[in-house]
């Protein structure tokens, strides 16, 4: 062995070279390579393009000279390289040659392993190989030697060798030379007439030309692909009827199994069934996967469950599939390919179509509910692309879909029955129900999952988020395409391109095509300055806050080397980040919200002060910009944020919250303002004109609340109030009427078990009608405001009501008789008169109540008709809607003498009142308080009926 390697045999060297060359060659020219395994009649690179014929002449005339000139140069290069490498190896490892052999072995082993049914399973570049039987497998291309060579070359270029220029530069030059030569020769060989033809041919974008046509060609993440397919498959029972069900079940389970395997062990590269119906391989592979399955009993359980589910109900639970992800990852392609794969005809609605809801509804209904009678009898699958794009119109589509889905869920029970009938084989698939149900799969595609228009859709749809495919897969694909197009690229350059565009295949391809057209090669170093514009990536606000509040650790290490360059770097990146985002308002809100939660060393709070100054300046600037519309000044916003970053950034992670408090403040403020405004509008103008919001909150509200609930007002029956107290009461009622304030039952239902706090709870049940007391309810602040008792409040409510009615009638009469008079004073006087009378009335009423209670307690069986009358009077006087109440009491008892005059009854009662002693009343109240049984009436239409009523009022 030693001898072999020290002095390599010429044959071996050649074979090695050939091998290397083959590998190099394979990736560059798979067309040339494949015929070794393929039968000549089936072209291996199945170019599905329709215009293949138009392309033919071009490829013939261009490719052949190109190839001829290319091949030798390549071979030459590789030979040179190889020789050099050999020498080098000899230099470096004169005593340990075995690695070469080992590598070869390893490579063989790897190759065995890397033969796979799917391109995705191969981690890296692969090459399709079609067997004579038509089966197609993908073989992994191992590039151990080349890779090692590259590494070594790099090593060498770093270490200053004998050559003046680094080796890779030389190589590149060589490549360039060869390329230019080839170009020259090709252009010479071409006649001028072929030029326009070529242009026509080039019209087609590579993106379209090389878009994947079959499921296996997809570049996107495997699991997502599988799940989409699974979802589509679940429609089979409904769409295709029952005859295909068996197979579809099988496929479903296989799919399910597969995806679970992918989930559990990704490294497993075993051959798994292709998801075609009735596949040859399936049996043995099923067995294999079943073995695997036994290992993962857990997933099997899930799968069984799934199988059961799919057997019972046909379509999937979520009727809509929502694919989302950044542009260029192949969402649309996946939808199309998967749908085609499952036997659907794709109908696409995208942003270019009219998407108003009326138009789209008919369109969707067409697609979803009708079967085509035309030639293409395949069922349709609806793909709604760019559903988040147009906000105004896009909503139409979302609405229609939502409607259909909700209809669906409503009809679900009925449908189950029908599904059962279908299972029994009674119905044919042609029969369709008339309901607007969703009987075809609908796939929606969007870029931004969190677009506001999609919010309802997100809840009902099955969401798949696209993630970036691995760089090497993208690169291998790009390489394949480049080879097809005869474009010279290096994998390093392609990798750089892919990384640069964040695996956006579309933009990669466009760039390459553009470069190809310009006859330029991809230059690794100049990608940014070359044609590719960097995508304007706007990061989320959270990322920006994190950047602001958090120092980067890596940067800190570098700081020791060159602190100056680092700071400017940091400045640059932050500046770019913030200005790309642009939403300065949110960013500043976020800084404001989170800055106080940070832990930074700040002895005398100078940093905090500075930060707040920055916040203030940003606010001033924002306001100025908004007022003067000088948007150019917004440029200076990011620098302020960077100042904050310099001040407070810490290495430790900050937990950042979304700024909610300012918004909350805004909304509650608006709510309170609305309350105030509507109240302000109700107050008569001679008061309201003197009140502004400011003076209201500043000066009026606290005293007003004090005045409205005077602690001196004793919670006793009105008739035992002294004259002075009656006056106070009247004044209070007048104030309440003037300010349009009353009490309202807030119906906070007291819990049945805490009767001890009955009064407190009930009192809290009644609160001011314009909720003015809320204006002083500061958090963590206890106001010393006195609150009236419930009974008092109830009395006040009725008094206010009465007073208001009285005032209206008096106002009217005054207006009728002498409109010219100053009616304010008169009105005041009149109302005070009315007030005193009404108070007298209600006092009598309450007195009657008391007396009735007393009687009730003392001799409950002697319910003489007079108490009946008293109670009914009480009821009627208490409620604003007398008729309601009368009916109520009439229901309960025998109708009292309703024909009698209201005031007559009063006179009678007041006469009786005087006979009662005060002691009895006192006792009655004590008795009443000890019997806190409430009866709540839950029917009726007005609050007059819905009032809580004491039990004893029914007991009479």
């Amino acid at each position: 062995m030693d001898m072999d390697y020290d002095i390599p045999l010429p044959e071996e060297l050649e074979s090695l070279e050939a091998d290397i060359y083959l590998h190099d060659h394979q990736e560059y020219y798979p067309d040339l390579d494949l015929p070794e395994q393929d039968p000549p009649d089936s072209p291996p690179s199945t170019d599905p393009q329709i215009n293949a014929q138009t392309k033919r002449p071009r490829s013939e005339c261009t490719d052949s000279p190109f190839d001829d000139s290319e091949l030798p140069s390549d071979e030459k290069r590789s030979r040179i390289v190889d020789d050099e490498e050999k020498e080098e190896q000899e230099d470096q490892q004169p005593y340990s040659p075995p690695p070469e052999v080992e590598q070869e072995e390893v490579r063989v082993v790897e190759e065995e392993n890397t033969l796979s049914r799917y391109a995705f399973q191969i981690d890296g570049e692969c090459m399709p190989v079609t067997a004579p039987g038509g089966d197609r497998v993908y073989a992994k291309i191992c590039r151990f030697e080349t890779e090692e060579r590259l590494k070594k070359l790099n090593v060498k270029s770093n270490s200053n060798g004998l050559i003046l220029e680094p080796l890779n530069v030389l190589l590149e030059k060589l490549e360039q030379d060869a390329f230019t030569k080839a170009l020259n020769s090709s252009s010479e060989g071409q006649s001028d007439t072929s030029l326009p033809e070529k242009q026509v041919v080039h019209e087609q974008l590579w993106v379209d030309k090389y878009s994947p046509n079959s499921f296996t060609e997809l570049l996107s993440d495997e699991q997502t692909n599988r799940e989409v397919l699974l979802w589509l498959k679940q429609w089979d029972s409904r769409v295709f009827g029952s005859e295909i069900r068996t197979t579809s079940d099988e496929v479903l389970s296989a799919l399910k199994r597969h995806s679970s395997i992918v989930q559990h062990q990704k490294s497993n590269n075993s051959n798994l069934p292709r998801n075609n119906w009735g596949h040859k391989w399936s049996n043995e592979n099923f067995r294999q996967s079943n073995n695997l399955e036994n290992e993962h009993s857990n997933s099997k359980g899930i799968q069984d469950l799934w199988n059961k589910k799919t057997r019972l109900t046909g379509p999937p639970e979520q009727k809509i599939l929502l694919l989302c992800g950044p542009p260029g990852l192949g969402k649309t392609t996946l939808a199309h390919v998967a749908a085609k794969h499952c036997g659907y005809r794709v109908v696409e609605i995208n942003a270019s179509d009219d998407r108003s809801s009326s138009n789209i509804e008919t369109k969707i209904l067409d697609v979803v509910q009708m079967n085509s009678v035309m030639a293409d009898a395949r069922p349709k699958c609806l793909v709604i692309d760019e559903i988040d794009g147009a906000l105004g119109d896009g909503k139409g589509a979302v609405e229609v879909i939502l409607k259909m889905v909700s209809d669906e869920s409503k009809n679900d029970i009925g449908k189950d029955n029908v599904a059962k009938e279908e299972q029994s084989g009674k119905t044919s698939s042609k029969k369709r129900r008339k309901t607007t149900s969703l009987s075809r799969p609908v796939i929606c595609i969007c870029n931004d999952l969190y677009a506001p228009a999609l919010r309802p859709l997100r809840q009902i749809a099955k969401v798949h988020i696209f993630i970036q495919p691995t760089v090497c897969r993208v690169v291998s694909r790009l390489k394949y395409i480049c080879n097809k197009e005869g474009m010279q690229t290096s994998s390093i350059g392609l990798t750089a391109l892919a990384e640069y565009t964040e695996c956006d295949i579309r933009s990669c391809l466009n760039t390459l095509q553009f470069l190809n057209k310009k006859k330029e090669t991809l230059n690794v170093l100049e990608i940014s300055s070359q044609v590719v514009g960097r995508k304007d990536m706007s990061r989320s606000a959270f990322d920006i806050w994190k950047e602001i509040f958090q120092k980067r650790k890596m940067k800190r290490l570098r700081k020791s080397n060159n602190s100056h360059g680092n700071t400017s770097d940091e400045f640059e990146s932050l500046h770019a980040l913030i200005s790309y985002r642009g939403d300065h308002n949110t960013i500043w809100d976020g800084i404001h919200e989170n800055i106080l939660q940070l832990q930074y060393h700040d002895p005398v709070m100078q940093k905090t002060v500075k930060c707040f100054d920055c916040l203030g300046v940003s606010d001033l600037m924002h306001q100025y910009v908004m007022r003067t519309q000088k948007m150019a000044l917004l440029v200076y916003q990011p620098s302020l944020a960077i100042t904050v970053h310099r001040l407070v950034a810490q290495i430790q992670k900050a937990n950042i919250e979304w700024p909610k408090s300012y918004q909350r403040y805004r909304t509650t403020l608006m709510g309170k303002m609305d309350i105030f405004k509507s109240w302000h509008f109700k107050i008569p103008p001679y008061i309201s004109r003197h009140l502004s919001t400011k003076s209201f909150v500043e000066e009026l509200i606290s005293p007003l609340l004090h005045i409205l609930s005077p602690p001196t007002l004793r919670p006793v029956a009105l008739h035992i109030l002294s004259e002075k107290e009656k006056n106070d009461m009247a004044q209070l009622v007048r104030a309440m009427v003037a300010y349009c304030i009353t009490y309202k039952n807030m119906r906070s239902d007291p819990l049945p078990n805490n009767f001890g706090h009955e009064v407190a709870l009930e009192a809290s049940g009644f609160s001011f009608d314009p909720p003015i007391s809320n204006f002083i309810n500061f958090k963590g602040y206890l106001s010393g405001h006195y609150e009236l008792s419930l009974a008092m409040k109830q009395v006040l409510v009725h008094e206010v009501e009465k007073q208001r009615i009285m005032q209206v009638s008096i106002g009217k009469s005054l207006h009728l008789t002498d409109g010219q008079k100053e009616n304010h004073d008169l009105m005041g006087k009149g109302s005070s008169i009315a007030e005193s009378t009404t108070i007298g009335h209600s006092a009598a009423c309450v007195g009657a109540d008391m007396r009735g209670d007393a009687k009730n307690v003392f001799n409950p069986r002697q319910c003489n008709p007079s108490t009946h009358t008293a109670l009914s009077t009480l009821d009627s006087s208490r409620s604003a809607s007398t008729s309601m109440k009368l009916k109520f009491s009439g229901d309960k008892k025998k109708p009292s003498n309703g024909s009698a005059n209201f005031f007559d009854r009063f006179r009678k009662l007041s006469g009786k009142d005087s006979q009662n002693t005060d002691a009895a009343v006192q006792k009655a109240t004590v008795e009443r308080d000890s019997l806190p049984l409430l009866f709540k009436f839950n029917e009726g239409f007005t609050n007059a009926v819905k009032r809580p009523v004491r039990m004893r009022e029914f007991l009479l």
């Binding site: 005398v604 002060v609 001033l620 408090s661 300012y662 003076s695 000066e699 005293p703």
Partner: protein, 388 residues
């Protein structure tokens, strides 16, 4: 009816507080030469009362019969139409409105609605061409543009229309408008005047006022007559036979601000729980050998989170419609009460500085908090230098 409304003077003759101004106004009207007027002065000083008295003097009792209208105006502003909702109080001869209610679109109100109103000249019963009065409230809240569009209207239609402008501060009314009006400064009533009014009310209500009680209310009222009368009535409701040392219920928001102020000052005694992050911070401080370990710990505990607590309370105040300027003013007042004389000047300076920024800016909370932070910083520095 509250006493504030009940004892509000209806005519210029009944006025107690600003008798001289009332007299002048009366003279002005009787000479039939009423110019545009600009009333300015602090709230609760009686601007609106004087204006109403004046209107009554001009138009008689008919001016008091007003109807409230909430109208939506459609305004054609170039390419689009704007709907503006505005509440007006109008009698036969005058209209009251506050154009600043509509916010930033107030210039349309001035340009379209006020102009429209000013154009229509009323003709009184005797066939004499009278004039109409427009009362505009809160002129100082009008935007620059609106004020500028007002100036031409004032000149052009001065034959048929008089404007009475009412605002708190004339400094926010542009020069051009001020020069077109007769400026009437309404001072806040002095304490003696307030006492006089209170005693008048007490007499009318038949109340016995202990000596010095009215003076105390006046003192607490911040020289706002409205507030004085309201607190007077509150006292009456709370406890009638007055005692001279009776507690005068404070304004709730002022109490709350005072709480905030003591929160800010009380930094030295933290009463709150320590969260895990702070524990870690303390641990870090303890592990690093520095001279003032204890100090750093205290700082971690106190500095920023106290501010956070204050922020919550400030938000609470602002949520309840209390204007930020007033909050800042009151906060300064409360802080100054508890502050060393040495610092007072500096703090006042910074309060003015941040109030200025607050008025220029949009988010009041930023500036309020900035003031609190500044205060904390200064106060802390002061404490460290004086007490070590």
């Amino acid at each position: 009816m509250l006493w504030v409304d009940k004892y509000r003077p209806k005519t210029l003759d009944q006025v107690i507080v600003h008798q001289d101004i009332a007299l002048n106004l009366k003279k002005l009207v009787t000479e039939q030469d009423c110019p545009h007027l600009l009333f300015y002065g602090p709230s609760g000083s009686g601007k609106k009362t004087l204006i109403m008295g004046l209107l009554r003097q001009v138009f008689g009792p008919g001016a008091e019969k007003v109807k409230v209208e909430n109208r939506t105006w459609k305004i054609d502003a170039g390419s689009r139409t704007i709907d503006l909702e505005l509440t007006t109080l109008s009698s036969a001869n005058h209209v009251e409105l506050s154009p600043s209610d509509v916010g930033f679109q107030d210039r349309y109100i001035v340009q379209e609605i006020i102009k429209e109103m000013a154009k229509n000249r009323p003709i009184d019963t005797k066939g004499k061409r009278g004039y109409k009065v427009l009362v505009l409230n809160e002129v100082d809240k009008l935007s620059r543009e609106a004020q500028h569009s007002l100036r031409r209207t004032m000149e052009k239609y001065s034959s048929s229309c008089r404007l009475i402008l009412c605002c708190n501060s004339s400094s926010k009314v542009i020069e051009a408008i001020r020069s077109r009006c007769l400026n009437v400064r309404i001072n806040a009533p002095t304490e003696e005047q307030i006492v006089k009014v209170l005693e008048f009310i007490g007499k009318k209500e038949g109340l016995q006022l202990p000596s010095g009680f009215a003076a105390r209310i006046a003192e607490k009222s911040n020289r706002s007559l409205r507030r004085a009368i309201l607190s007077f009535e509150t006292c009456r409701v709370q406890q009638y036979p007055f005692t001279s040392n009776q507690a005068i219920p404070p304004m709730d928001w002022e109490e709350y601000v005072s709480e905030i102020a003591s929160d800010i000052m009380k930094e030295q005694s933290p009463k709150r729980y320590i969260n895990l992050r702070e524990v870690n911070g303390i641990r870090r401080v303890l592990l690093t050998p520095t001279n003032y370990n204890l100090d750093s710990i205290l700082r971690i505990l106190l500095s920023t989170t106290r501010l956070f607590q204050v922020r919550g309370k400030l938000y609470e105040l602002l949520t309840n419609c209390i204007p930020p300027e007033i909050v800042l003013k009151r906060l300064l007042y409360e802080l100054l009460k508890r502050l060393d004389a040495e610092l007072k000047h500096e703090i006042c300076h910074w309060a003015a500085y941040y109030e200025h920024r607050m008025r220029l800016g949009q988010k009041a909370i930023f500036h309020l908090e900035a003031f609190v932070a500044k205060f904390m910083s200064i106060y802390k520095g002061f404490l460290i230098t004086t007490f070590g």
